[in-house]
C-alpha cells in the first residue's frame, strides 16, 4: 500500500520544503522506497534543498505533457538508497498542472513507491490545491506565530472539504501538526505561542517540534537535507517525527532552553 503525504501550510516560508526534504530522506533511510515531489510549479526549489539542481533534465510538466516518461524525470538520490526526487518545472504557465495529468502521474507513482511526499507551494492556488487533493496524510507545517496558525487552520478546512478523500466519501485525510522554528526560550518568556497554545487552537495531533536552528540554513546552503545532520537538534527532531509517523513512540525533545538546563544544573534539580 502506498501513501501520499502532503506537506502543506498555507503560509510561505514556514519550512515546507525543508520538511519535505527531511521527511522523505528520513523515510528512505528507514528502508521505505520514497519519492519527494515538487508541486511548486514556476518556483522550483526542492531540487536545491535536495542538492540535485544540476541533475534535473525532465520535470513534472514534461511528464504531464508526454515529452518524457516518469523514469526519465525521476532523480535518484546519491546519498540515501530508496530515495528519488521528482522536480517540477519553471514554467510560468499557471494552469500547467492539469487535473487528469496529475492524477495519472500520481497513480503511476503509487504503483512504484511506498511513500510519495508532496511538497506543496504556499497559498491556495492550483499547485497547492493539487497537492492537497491527492493527500492520504497531511503534515501541516506551522510556525508558532499568528498568521501561520491562521493559514494552517484554513488549510485544515480545505483538507476536510476539497481533498480527493472528501470528494469520494473515503475516510478523511490523516492530519499531523509539525511545529517548526520553535524557540523554547521565547516561549518561556511568553513572547511566543507554546506547543499547547497551538495545539489547543488547531486540535491536530502533534507529529513533532523542530527547534529554531542555525543548521537548517547551513543545510540548505549545501543542499543537504537537514535530517542527514545527525548532530543537529533540528536533524534529530526530524528523525523523531519520521519515527512517530511510522508508529514509534518517541518523547518530544529540545523543548527547553539550553540556559535553563545550565541553571538547573547550577541550582540543583527544581
Amino acid at each position: 500500500m502506498s501513501k501520499v503525504i502532503t506537506v502543506t501550510s498555507g503560509k510561505g516560508g514556514v519550512g515546507k520544503t525543508t520538511t519535505s526534504a527531511a521527511f522523505a530522506t528520513g523515510l528512505a533511510q528507514r528502508g521505505h522506497k520514497t519519492v519527494v515531489v515538487d508541486f511548486d510549479v514556476g518556483l522550483r526549489n526542492l531540487d536545491l534543498i535536495m542538492g540535485c539542481e544540476r541533475r534535473v533534465v525532465f520535470d513534472f510538466i514534461n511528464v504531464i505533457n508526454g515529452d518524457a516518461n516518469l523514469n526519465q524525470a525521476l532523480i535518484k538520490d546519491k546519498r540515501v538508497d530508496n530515495l528519488y526526487i521528482f522536480p517540477t518545472s519553471q514554467t510560468r504557465d499557471k494552469d500547467a498542472l492539469r487535473k487528469d495529468g496529475v492524477e495519472k502521474i500520481m497513480d503511476e507513482l503509487r504503483d512504484n513507491f511506498e511513500y510519495i511526499v508532496c511538497d506543496s507551494p504556499a497559498g491556495i492556488e492550483q499547485g497547492a490545491m493539487s497537492a492537497l487533493y491527492h493527500a492520504d496524510a497531511a503534515i501541516i507545517v506551522t510556525n508558532p506565530e499568528v498568521s501561520s496558525v491562521r493559514d494552517s487552520d484554513r488549510i485544515l478546512g480545505m483538507l476536510a472539504s476539497k481533498s480527493r478523500r472528501a470528494e469520494l466519501n473515503q475516510p478523511p485525510v490523516e492530519e499531523f501538526l509539525l511545529l517548526t522554528r520553535y524557540a523554547p526560550d521565547r516561549v518561556a518568556r511568553g513572547e511566543m505561542l507554546s506547543i499547547t497554545d497551538v495545539q489547543e487552537i488547531l486540535s491536530v495531533p502533534l507529529l513533532g517540534v523542530i527547534p529554531e536552528s542555525e543548521t537548517v540554513l547551513k543545510a540548505s546552503n549545501t543542499g543537504q537535507p537537514v535530517i542527514l545532520d545527525a548532530e543537529s537538534t533540528a536533524g534529530r527532531a526530524y528523525s523523531d517525527a519520521v519515527a512517530r509517523f511510522l508508529g514509534e513512540q518517541r518523547e518530544m525533545r529540545f523543548l527547553t532552553t539550553e540556559r535553563k538546563g545550565l541553571l538547573r544544573s547550577l541550582f540543583g534539580k527544581a
Binding site: E145, V146, V149, R150, D153, R154, G157, V187, A188, R189, G190, E191, M192, L193, S194, D197, E200, I201, R259, K260, L263, F267, A270
Partner: protein
C-alpha cells in the same frame, strides 16, 4: 527558585494576546467556512416555492445551518408580513370552507 522565576517569568502578555486573538478570529472564520455551497440555492428555491403561495421578498427567508457536536440543525425561518396575510385571509370574496392559501395561487399583483 526565586531567581528561576525571575529569569523565566510567567507568560507576559504578547503570547497570550496572540492566542486570544487567534481563537476569536478562527471561531468566526470556521463558522463561515462550514456553510455548505447549496445553502444560497436552497434559499432561492424556497423563495420560489413559498412565494407561489405567499408574498415574499428575499430577505424574508432566512436559512441557517448550525452544527453542535454530532448533530446539525437546518433552520428555515420565513418571516411573514402580518398585515398582508391578514388581509388575504379576511378577503370577502374568498369562498367559505376553502383551505388556507396553500391550495390556490394568489392573484398576480396581489
Amino acid at each position: 527558585m526565586a531567581i528561576l522565576s525571575f529569569l523565566f517569568p510567567k507568560k507576559s502578555p504578547s503570547a497570550s494576546v496572540a492566542k486570544e486573538r487567534l481563537q476569536i478570529v478562527l471561531a468566526h472564520e470556521r463558522a463561515g467556512r462550514d456553510v455548505p455551497e447549496f445553502l444560497p440555492r436552497l434559499q432561492k428555491e424556497m423563495l420560489a416555492v413559498v412565494g407561489k403561495y405567499l408574498e415574499l421578498t428575499e430577505d424574508m427567508i432566512k436559512i441557517n445551518l448550525q452544527r453542535q457536536g454530532g448533530t446539525s440543525i437546518l433552520e428555515i425561518n420565513v418571516e411573514l408580513d402580518k398585515t398582508k396575510l391578514a388581509a388575504r385571509h379576511g378577503a370577502p370574496e374568498k369562498p367559505i370552507g376553502e383551505k388556507p392559501a396553500i391550495t390556490s395561487r394568489p392573484p398576480k399583483g396581489a
